[in-house]
């Protein structure tokens, strides 16, 4: 059963990599980059949803990754790989602290702090002049000799981390995450520290989110505080709702379809938000398992393998 989807995935990935290398126009190249980054952001958002938390702080961690990556490149002229890694590490480490403080209590605590966290970060970016203050940071380019390959690099990095997240979800660690969402008290009674596990989950997701931010910074070349409002998380939630939460491929599908559709929505100008709002509503009302669930049902009514142990 697993064979067909796997073959499909490999084929699609190859197409994406090759396509992104040969994509002629700048527009096509940028579109591929945006789609790829949105895919990974959605997968990372979903990873935290495995423990049942809506990670609206994600927007903040994208920003941290973007600024850290941007600083590494523009101020310290570090190699691209190192800039990406620094973006990821900065977001990951800060998220460990945020998670440690906010994920202890049950309830909407984390969600509420997430909003505040995101807005405070934006305030900080706008007040610090070395990183451009309100007008933002400019000149974040990948090195010239890599510019041509940048779309392919982004796609490869995204595919790699998608695979990592997928493997983690299927590992015993991933089962603990889902178990926490199901019944965190029970998880404690079998000797697992729920609080620390949640913190690690957020840390891993935010590391990946940080990569997304750094990739985005080097794709857009310019970043400003306004890019990292909590709307980023709202859009991501829309991708996930439309794509389907039950499988990581739902995150992939939703991000691809909505990002491409949103290109048309740009024509709506100020009504872009309505487009996303409508997408969430339609996703929730008409597609209980999202596009992935729909595809699943059309492809035979059988579920794709989920947990292992078989």
């Amino acid at each position: 059963m697993a064979k067909l989807p796997r073959a499909l995935l490999v084929a699609a990935s190859l197409c994406a990599v090759i396509g992104s290398y040969f994509s002629g126009s700048d527009f096509a190249a940028n579109l591929i980059i945006w789609v790829a980054i949105n895919v990974l952001m959605t997968a990372s958002f979903r990873f935290v949803l495995l423990i049942g938390e809506l990670n609206f702080a994600m927007a903040g961690f994208v920003g941290i990754g973007a600024y850290a990556g941007g600083i590494a490149t523009t101020m310290y002229h570090l190699p691209l790989a190192l800039a990406l890694l620094l973006g990821a590490a900065a977001a990951g480490l800060i998220s460990l602290v945020v998670g440690f403080v906010t994920l202890r209590a049950k309830g909407a605590y984390f969600l509420l702090v997430s909003f505040a966290f995101t807005e405070v970060l934006r305030l900080i970016y706008s007040k610090v002049d070395v990183i451009g203050g309100n007008s933002g940071m400019i000149g974040i380019f990948p090195p010239a000799y890599l510019a041509r390959f940048y779309p392919a690099i982004v796609v490869l990095v995204v595919l790699f981390f998608l695979f990592v997240l997928y493997r983690m979800e299927r590992s015993d660690f991933g089962k603990i995450l889902v178990a926490i969402r199901n019944n965190d008290d029970l998880v404690q009674t079998v000797g697992i520290d729920v609080h620390l596990t949640k913190v690690w989950c957020l840390g891993i997701a935010s590391f990946v989110t940080g990569i997304c931010g750094a990739l985005l910074a080097h794709a857009n070349n310019v970043i400003s505080p306004g890019d990292f409002s909590f709307l980023v998380a709202v859009y991501t939630l829309a991708y996930l709702k439309v794509g389907g939460e039950s499988h990581i491929l739902g995150a992939v599908l939703g991000a691809i379809v909505l990002t491409l559709l949103a290109q048309y929505a740009l024509g709506f100008g100020a009504y872009e938000h309505i487009f996303y709002g409508a997408a969430i509503v339609i996703g929730v009302l008409l597609l209980p398992d999202g596009l992935f669930g729909l595809a699943q049902r059309m492809l035979s009514g059988r579920r794709w393998p989920e947990g292992s142990g078989s």
């Binding site: 889902v178 199901n182 019944n183 008290d185 009674t189 079998v190 520290d193």
Partner: protein, 242 residues
């Protein structure tokens, strides 16, 4: 060598606002016994479990497990020391398979997947769950769900199992089968069981000793035959029930 007294509860008190859910409770659980903890609804049995297993801090008093003071430790640490408890209202991971429910229970105990896998399969075999391993727990009938709760706890092979009303809603055949399993857990694996249960017939049948609570206060303890003839228990507890 394990001490004879596995769990010792000393002066245990737990208040909720003005309500004394448990007051100055003293009792001990001896290694290898099945000890019943009974009392009318609201007597404080579940609260006692919550304090013993670290989910609630006691207002006063101490809990000793294998000779060590575990008062106020977090539930995960207490569990790793060998005390596992179930919850009255469902100890299940409903969206996960029976297999994964038990697997999660073995993770903090064993390092490798093959070890965990073997433990899960052995446990399923013993609790007659081998045919349901890949079903989602939420889809199982009530009786099997209760068995899965016990299976989760038992797959840890803990020294002490604290079961909170594990027989609720089971039919006679299921109760008999559950009791047989409790005995095997004790006899073959040397586990000790602290059992909160409303099914008096089952309690009288399986327990070596019984502790009775009423309104958070210790009322009596003794062998089942003594408890069933105890005047205070009959008037305070059995008398109130139909």
């Amino acid at each position: 060598m394990e001490p004879e007294i596995l769990l010792k509860v000393e002066g245990l008190t737990r208040h909720f606002g003005g309500l004394a859910a448990v007051s100055d409770l003293n009792f001990e659980v001896r290694r290898g016994e099945i000890l019943g903890l009974i009392g009318p609804n609201g007597a404080g049995k579940s609260t006692t479990f919550n304090v013993i297993s670290g989910f609630h801090k006691p207002t006063a008093g101490k809990v000793y497990f294998v000779g060590e003071d575990i008062t106020g430790r977090n539930p995960a640490r207490i569990s790793r020391k060998g005390l596992v408890r179930t919850f009255q209202h469902g100890s299940l991971l409903r969206e996960m398979t029976v297999y994964d429910n038990m697997l999660v229970a073995t993770i903090s105990l064993m390092r490798t997947r093959p070890e965990r896998d073997r433990r899960v399969r052995e446990t399923a075999e013993m609790l007659h769950l081998s045919d349901q391993l890949h079903e989602l727990v939420g889809n199982l009938p009530h009786g099997l769900q209760r068995m899965v709760s016990i299976a989760i706890a038992f797959s840890r092979r803990s020294r002490l199992l604290c079961l909170d009303e594990p027989l609720t809603g089971l039919n006679q055949i299921e109760v008999a089968s559950a009791l047989a399993i409790f005995r095997r857990i004790r006899d073959e694996f040397g586990s000790t069981i602290l059992l909160v249960e409303h099914n008096m017939k089952a309690v009288m049948e399986i327990c070596d000793r019984i502790v009775v609570l009423d309104h958070g206060v210790f009322l009596a303890q003794g062998r089942p035959i003594e408890i069933s003839q105890n005047e205070a228990v009959i008037s305070a507890y059995l008398g109130k029930r139909k």
